[in-house]
């Protein structure tokens, strides 16, 4: 089944790009999930959409590709991420407020640019739900560059990121520049989202960042192991999702996310069976009374 993917150029670029985002999305997603910022990815993906719509609008209005949608999305997304960090420091006690503000701002801008460009077209549909045929060689090379950059930065700042995610006060006391590491983290998240949108689409990109992590967190010990497992799950979801999406003629965003959900369910069942087999319910998530 995968033969087509290696045979046709456009599919090959999609597959390779998919393999890259299968690494970087769960990698960043691991930090997002443990910091309870899952909605952050949603906010940024809608800002990215505004950037994409902006690039498409310029293209349509003046017939020039001033910026490619990939870079348009990336620029908007990074600006959005910096704004979120700013808003979070303004509303110290209500940090989650930053997320709906930026999310609605992103949707508002998107609507404006889309209607200025005379409404929906298939291109935009591809951006919403992903596409198997949309990745050009240039896009692939850009995303390859971004992915390498992201992985290197995460490796360099891994210990600061995990220390800060676990206990911000302790991190600050031990001399870590919390503000700068936060900013770095959120900008990286913006880059990952912009890179992933071609394949999974605006609406489902946050799922690829969080679902593999949600599955991994149930069956792993420690942070490092969770990151590795979430990347394995992410790759599974991307490969299976891309191939089935292609053969069924469905946007891959849908099939990738559904595969990720199946993986999640499988890990939940596995965990259930294992705890049942052990004879006890050591499952910390079941706070309800154990004698039904």
């Amino acid at each position: 089944m995968i033969a087509d993917f290696l045979h046709y150029d456009f599919l090959r670029h999609t597959l390779y790009t998919g393999l890259l985002i299968g690494i970087i999305a769960p990698l960043l997603g691991s930090f997002i999930v443990v910091r309870r910022l899952s909605l952050l990815a949603d906010a940024l993906s809608h800002v990215t959409l505004a950037g994409i719509a902006f690039a498409l609008y310029i293209d349509k209005r003046w017939g020039i590709v001033a910026i490619s949608p990939l870079y348009g999305g990336m620029i908007f997304s990074v600006i959005g991420s910096v704004l979120i960090e700013k808003l979070r420091s303004v509303y110290r006690a209500f940090q989650e407020l930053a997320i709906p503000i930026i999310l609605s701002g992103g949707v508002g801008l998107s609507v404006i640019f889309i209607s200025l460009a005379n409404g929906f077209n298939t291109d935009l549909f591809n951006y919403l739900f992903g596409s198997v045929s949309a990745v050009s060689q240039t896009d692939f090379l850009s995303i390859l560059g971004i992915s390498i950059f992201i992985i290197i930065v995460i490796l360099l700042f891994y210990k600061e990121l995990i220390t800060l995610s676990f206990d911000e006060e302790h991190a600050t006391v031990s001399g870590i520049h919390a503000k700068w590491i936060h900013l770095l983290f959120i900008v990286l998240t913006a880059l990952v989202i912009a890179a992933s949108i071609r394949i999974v689409g605006v609406l489902l990109v946050s799922a690829l960042m969080t679902l593999p992590v949600a599955a991994a967190i149930r069956v792993s010990k420690g942070f490092k192991q969770m990151v590795i497992m979430s990347i394995i799950f992410g790759e599974f979801a991307v490969i299976i999702g891309l191939v089935t999406g292609y053969y069924l003629g469905i946007p891959p965003g849908g099939t990738i996310v559904l595969t990720a959900i199946f993986i999640l369910i499988a890990t939940l069942i596995y965990k259930r069976i294992r705890t049942a087999y052990k004879g006890g319910s050591s499952d910390e998530s079941t706070r309800s009374r154990q004698y039904a």
Binding site: V34, R36, L156, F157, K159, E160, I162, T163, S165, F166, D167, E169, H170, A171, T172, V173, S174, G175, I176, I217, S220, K221, G222, F223, K224, Q225, M226, S282, E284, S285
Partner: protein, 258 residues
């Protein structure tokens, strides 16, 4: 003579409008084991946050190891176990090893990776609090007292010269409280680590501390455990009940402060 670990001179601090600390003159000599006590809301945590640089005093000067706090850079000389340590996200997927390793993050600095020596240090710190059997367990799966010991290991792993503990024994059972104080005493006596310990458990504290400080907006007592235990009940009830009226200094304190 070495500079004291901490000195505060006429420090004041106010949150928004309510004044929390006033006229704080205080010295924490190196190698001492100081117990800090006082009623809820007396400002103990605030005092500690000032020492850690998490808050800036409105007035007065703070010196750490003889250096003005504004220019102090050696933050890894200070280990800290917060009152809120146990409020972390219990689902956070980090092993005991990973949590303790976080104590080295600041000491190592940016762009550095853990090497073999660091890894041994982490194992030694875990052993020193008797948690080696749990090295690869998730922190959230441990009991409250065990978690607290892991946080102490995290504070110890960077070889601090001053260890600040804000009510570290809350939720720890009596037997483990004793073992915990023994551990602190050992660190204090064998490794010369200066201790600043906040606790409401004055009974246990007077048994172990070398210095005792009572804080309720201002310093009400600063002396040795024996002097503290000889305070009369009326002294104490005044201290807890009518903080503003009683700012008497006893001679011992004058001696230590001058």
């Amino acid at each position: 003579m070495k500079q004291p670990a901490v000195t505060m001179h006429n420090v004041e601090y106010t949150y928004d409008r309510s004044s929390v600390l006033r006229q704080i003159d205080f010295e924490l000599p190196r190698g001492s084991f100081m117990g800090l006590t006082g009623p809820n809301g007396g400002g103990k945590t605030t005092l500690i946050k000032l020492i850690l640089g998490l808050l800036k005093p409105d007035k007065g000067q703070i010196h750490l190891f003889g250096q003005p706090i504004q220019t102090f850079k050696d933050w890894t000389k200070i280990g800290f176990v917060s009152q809120k340590s146990n409020a972390f996200n219990k689902g956070f997927p980090a092993t005991v090893y990973e949590v303790v390793s976080m104590g080295l993050t600041g000491k190592l600095g940016y762009f550095k990776f853990f090497n073999k020596t660091h890894k041994e240090k982490i194992h030694t710190a875990i052993k020193s609090v008797g948690m080696e059997a749990y090295t690869n367990q998730n922190i959230g799966d441990l009991s409250g007292g065990q978690q607290q010991r892991v946080f102490i290991a995290r504070a110890l792993v960077s070889d601090p010269e001053l260890l600040i503990l804000d009510e570290p024994t809350v939720g720890v059972d009596a037997e483990n409280v004793d073992r915990f104080y023994d551990l602190l005493k050992k660190l204090n006596q064998e490794q010369g680590i200066t201790m600043l310990l906040v606790t409401h458990d004055t009974g246990t504290m007077t048994k172990h501390a070398t210095d005792i400080v009572c804080l309720n907006k201002t310093l009400h007592f600063h002396g040795e455990p024996d002097d503290y235990t000889s305070l009369t009940a009326t002294d104490l009830s005044k201290f807890y009940g009518y903080p503003v009226n009683l700012v008497e200094h006893d001679p011992d304190e004058k001696e230590e402060l001058s």
